[in-house]
């Protein structure tokens, strides 16, 4: 069985609660904290002069080499746990330190714009077909 696609989500989209429970996502952030005994890591990122923290369950990707302060990409399923907020149960956790985060954001936006544009076109086409 193949897992479902992990769609790019910005960390601030996860923390704002816009993502449903159990969704497959991928996101990024700086590793600021790792608790091996609890299998919990914290990724942090800055957006609109605010810090956003995403908690990551690392049980499935252990053992891994935690480099505090480095950029990581996480790919997994969202979980809403009491008291912690949104967490991601990681299937993949890769260190990508040195990544151009601004460019990555742009690429994600580009891709989203493209899909939005295409949906609009499809909707327009469907409408014009209905009209005739």
């Amino acid at each position: 069985m193949l897992p479902s696609a992990a769609v790019f989500r910005f960390p601030w989209e996860l923390t704002s609660g816009g993502v449903q429970d159990g969704q497959s996502v991928r996101t990024f952030g700086r590793l600021v904290d790792y608790q091996p005994e609890e299998s919990m890591a914290t990724l942090s990122s800055q957006h609109a002069s605010k810090e956003h923290r995403v908690v990551v369950h690392t049980m499935f990707v252990e053992p891994f080499n935690p480099i505090l302060g480095a950029q990581y990409i996480v790919l997994g399923e969202t979980e809403n746990s009491e008291g912690v907020g949104v967490t991601v149960r990681a299937r993949v956790l890769n260190c990508v330190d040195g990544v151009n985060i601004a460019l990555l954001q742009k690429a994600i936006e580009e891709q989203r714009n493209f899909f939005r544009e295409r949906e609009h076109k499809k909707a327009d086409a469907a409408q014009s077909v209905d009209a005739t």
């Binding site: 696609a5 790919l75 299937r91 151009n100």
Partner: protein, 367 residues
């Protein structure tokens, strides 16, 4: 719903090769690969936006892995969907131990390799690198090129090339993400403009013109017509006009009437027959009288006369009169409107009846 859409919109297979995407590894989003409609004409061909596609190129994270003796099965996630990629193992991957030939190369290399170049070591290194690039773990980035296949209702890619992509700072993934929307906008989402312009419209037109020409020709031959006016043969073309489907571009009000179409087709067909030399007009006047070239006794006589007279002249006696000389003479003495094509038909007709002979290429003398 999808199937009926595909049936109706699938371009005919004869046009597929004209689409550059058909011969390319198309860089589609995995989601699109999963949603493409399979061809009803040829299984194994898929359509993205009417583009025939059977080979794709994807880059994504391995999120699933299964290993068999002969192949790996990787689930590749590009952020839009996940697809199974069947990746055959090369022989090197199947056998961990190097084959027996290694020993002889070892002997060769140890003898004739200065500067510490050890072929066996290099080979081992090469094999190790190859293995590393083909044996992937979950979380690693893979590039797969291959054919799209649907087996047991599951779409997958049978890889012809696959390798691990080292992307420590995500530059490969980012540039891929930036590039794909461009490719879609510029190529994949644009319809190939073949059918209306290059193939469909003109093809139908040439076809009907060709048929019109042949119908008139058949009619003239069957009835042994030697001279006619356009309206005499107009009705011959009637079946073509009624059978011709209306082109979608011409609306009911904008399109020409059947009568206009008929006259236009007739005009074009007669022009083609004139260009071929099959018919000609001796005099160009309001009264359009066409003469069937090879049935025009006067023209045949005129040509024969020119050849008979001029081949008596010393200049042409041996070699015969050149076709261009005959043409200018006929134009001077008989009619300015005789084309070279018409003259050539007359000449071959005269030659067939042995009234003239051709001693050399393009030269004729009277018998």
């Amino acid at each position: 719903k999808n199937i009926s859409l595909g049936l109706a919109e699938e371009p005919p297979s004869i046009l597929w090769g004209l689409d550059p995407l058909f011969s390319a590894f198309v860089r589609l989003y995995v989601r699109d690969i999963l949603q493409m409609a399979e061809s009803t004409q040829v299984p194994g061909i898929y359509f993205y936006n009417l583009h025939p596609v059977y080979k794709v190129d994807v880059l994504g994270t391995v999120v699933y892995k299964r290993e068999r003796d002969d192949f790996f099965c990787y689930g590749v996630d590009d952020g839009t969907a996940v697809i199974n990629c069947l990746c055959w193992k090369s022989d090197e991957l199947k056998t961990e131990d190097p084959p027996g030939m290694e020993r002889s190369t070892l002997a060769d290399s140890s003898r004739g390799a200065p500067g510490g170049f050890n072929l066996l070591k290099e080979l081992k290194e090469l094999r190790r690198t190859q293995q590393e690039h083909h044996r992937l773990e979950i979380g690693e980035l893979v590039r797969v090129r291959g054919k799209v296949k649907t087996s047991r209702h599951q779409r997958e890619i049978t890889a012809s090339i696959y390798y691990k992509v080292n992307d420590p700072v995500m530059s490969e993934q980012i540039s891929w993400m930036m590039e794909l929307p461009q490719l879609y906008r510029e190529f994949y989402d644009k319809r190939l403009q073949l059918e209306p312009d290059a193939v469909g419209y003109r093809h139908a037109n040439i076809n009907s013109l060709h048929r019109a020409k042949n119908m008139i020709k058949d009619f003239l031959e069957k009835k042994s017509v030697s001279r006619f006016r356009p309206h005499d043969v107009q009705d011959v073309l009637l079946p073509l006009i009624s059978a011709q489907p209306h082109s979608p571009s011409a609306g009911p009000s904008a399109g020409p009437s059947a009568g206009q179409q008929l006259r236009q087709l007739l005009k074009e067909a007669l022009q083609v027959l004139q260009d071929d030399g099959f018919v000609y007009r001796r005099v160009k006047s309001q009264d359009e009288v066409f003469l069937v070239t090879t049935r025009d006794k006067d023209l045949l006589m005129a040509v024969q006369d020119v050849i008979r007279e001029d081949s008596k002249r010393e200049k042409y006696a041996e070699k015969g009169c050149h076709v261009l000389h005959i043409l200018s003479a006929v134009r001077q003495r008989f009619s300015l409107n005789v084309s070279r094509a018409a003259l050539e038909l007359v000449l071959s007709s005269l030659e067939c009846s042995s009234d003239i002979i051709s001693p050399s290429d393009q030269h004729y003398i009277a018998v």
